[in-house]
Symmetry: C2
Subunit: 379 residues, 2 copies
């Protein structure tokens, strides 16, 4: 069986649609990966995540290394066996989260040492340890370990972080390859850094290409720079990366962020937005997001989104979901999350179809117009 | 179609197995009714409640009249339409909960006035208003409105409460019958009171029989008197009620409570235990309850209960559930609840089969021995 192959079936402008073939299954691109932080896509059964159209989910190295622990996950059959998900899993490197969530972090050329926010225990994350953890988790797509600095840092600081990330990418590659049995079935992605600087992004891309990866992520975006700045960066960053490999925009995003990024040549996405929003009463609809707690929904017998094919919209009314969410019922979080994941996965299917039929510009414009007009109305 | 008929297919000692036929479906007895307090069996989809084997669920008048409100439920298609459950629903009268949960209750011959714990609004529950609310909810089995006093009250207080409950039962009957359209498809149950006093229970039963009901509940038990005292009461209370009508033991109970009550002639049960326990990490097993948070389960790859046919036990390990519950994940509450409901419904199916084959005594003894031995081991 093929370890990893990326086939582009059609292009439309800079956008592409195709498929990544891996041993545990095929990932249709552009793809959205629901986030399963702690070995669960929150409030959803794996079978329902699959039914929504997800070909791959994401697991978080930082959370899993602390609880239940990577070695324990390995003894329990890896992430797939433990959580009952048989399709591919991408794991992040822990780099982003250790720097945003952990206590008392100390960075050095070796890596990042930190204190667990759960029990105060000390840990080290380095390229080598990150590769080991992702191997223990049984990850299908492993991310290189990188360093992040705020986008507001000076160019000097950005350049230094990017250069260290490239040295860490090389160490990640070596450590990944050393785990021969795992490497024979898994893929390794490098992460482009360089903030909003085209020259730094170009140098980072070249360094990654020199090392060689199965896919390339655009890192360091969606951290508060705003959609205009992000799109400006995506006007050049993807083209600096190999055309024949998947491009993954990490941590993005809102539905219209995804549409604009697909138009700019991105193939893969992940974001906590559909799951987290589902737990706080926000539903995504083709007419923009709505907050189901709003009193105007208390006797609204329509579905969350009349155009949505999901089991929630086929069965329950806005009024019932309003009641469940107001009453703090777990079923409210379950159903809102399921709808939101369907919304995202259906959007990806629509984007793939539009690219396949060379009508992406029209689809994107009409999606955006309706989504943004609705937002204005419902906020 | 038949409005309400109860057929006894087989008896074994005082125990009976059979079926209640109603317009929305057949209820196999002995039956366990999962509790759907606020128009949801907490953390479960209706289809999964049905798949577990439940023929009927229970809704709470007190909670629903306050949120979302009985008139609103009626406008949203009744409980069935709103929550997507097409089989029978039994609603309680609100009597028990208004006296245990509400603020500033004032009792009189008219009924109970109280302040909502949600928004401070004042409400009245009376036999007439309780019947109206249960009609607005679209209840299939309506419970008469009754008065409860602590089991530790004097016999004089108990007798007075029982006698008032019987006057309220008569008013409930009249108000139920006045809602002709609803009464043509629904059933009304009376509730026997009289605490732990055989003479009071007998007088209560006779008063109810004189009024005439479709079924009869044994009320006022499982309120702290202990299993021995409850069973002592169940040694005479069911036989005071008509043999050809269903007998419902309200709010019971633990698995071995149910087994003992079935042996004493009870046909219907409801209890929050399987759902509430599921949200706090307790799983029921044939070897007694276990708390999945216990560290000894952290690498236990077996199912919650090796003999359980439920989807949770077929898919996930104790170790994974331990992780989910420890991490506060919603999926943990979902899966633990689903297993517990399956445990209860499977127990009812086993009891029905044992009665049908005249081997209840053996089944009950062996269930009890194993369940209690296991409890000792795992606590």
């Amino acid at each position: 069986m093929t370890r990893f192959s990326f086939t582009i079936a059609a292009t439309d402008g800079r956008a592409r649609t195709g498929a990544i073939a891996m041993q545990r299954g095929t990932i249709r691109t552009p793809a959205f990966m629901p986030v399963g932080t702690a070995a669960t896509v929150k409030a959803m059964r794996p079978a329902d995540v699959e039914a929504a159209g997800a070909d791959i989910i994401l697991g978080n190295t930082y959370h899993l290394m602390l609880r239940p622990g990577a070695e324990r996950v390995a003894r329990l059959g890896g992430l797939h066996g433990m959580m009952g998900w048989s399709r591919p899993i991408l794991t992040d490197s822990g780099g982003y989260q250790v720097m945003s969530l952990a206590d008392l972090t100390k960075r050095s050329e070796e890596g990042v040492s930190f204190k667990s926010h759960l029990d105060g225990s000390r840990h080290l994350l380095s390229p080598e340890r990150s590769m080991e953890i992702q191997r223990l988790l049984g990850s299908d797509i492993v991310m290189a370990f990188d360093e992040l600095v705020p986008t507001t840092s000076t160019k000097e600081v950005q350049a230094a972080a990017m250069e260290r990330s490239m040295r860490w990418a090389k160490r990640s590659r070596a450590a990944f390859d050393a785990g021969e049995e795992h490497a024979a079935g898994a893929a390794l992605f490098g992460i482009q850094q360089g903030a909003l600087d085209e020259q730094l992004r170009g140098a980072s891309a070249q360094a990654l290409i020199d090392i060689g990866f199965d896919g390339y992520a655009v890192g360091g975006l969606a951290v508060g720079e705003g959609q205009d700045a992000m799109f400006a960066c995506l006007d050049y960053a993807p083209s600096q990366l190999p055309v024949d490999k998947p491009r993954y925009l990490m941590g993005v995003g809102k539905p219209d962020d995804i549409v604009g990024a697909v138009e700019r040549g991105i193939d893969m996405f992940d974001c906590v937005l559909p799951t987290r929003s589902g737990r706080t009463g926000q539903a995504f609809t083709r007419d923009g997001p709505i907050n189901i707690r709003n009193a105007r929904f208390n006797e609204d017998q329509g579905p969350l989104d009349p155009a949505c094919p999901c089991p929630v919209c086929r069965t329950w009314s806005r009024a019932y979901l309003h009641h469940l969410v107001r009453a703090g019922e777990i079923l409210g979080a379950m159903l809102m999350t399921e709808h939101n994941i369907w919304f995202y996965e259906t959007l990806m299917a629509d984007l793939r179809a539009a690219i396949g039929e060379q009508r992406l510009a029209g689809f994107a414009a009409s999606f955006r117009d309706r989504y943004r007009a609705g937002q204005g109305e419902t906020r």
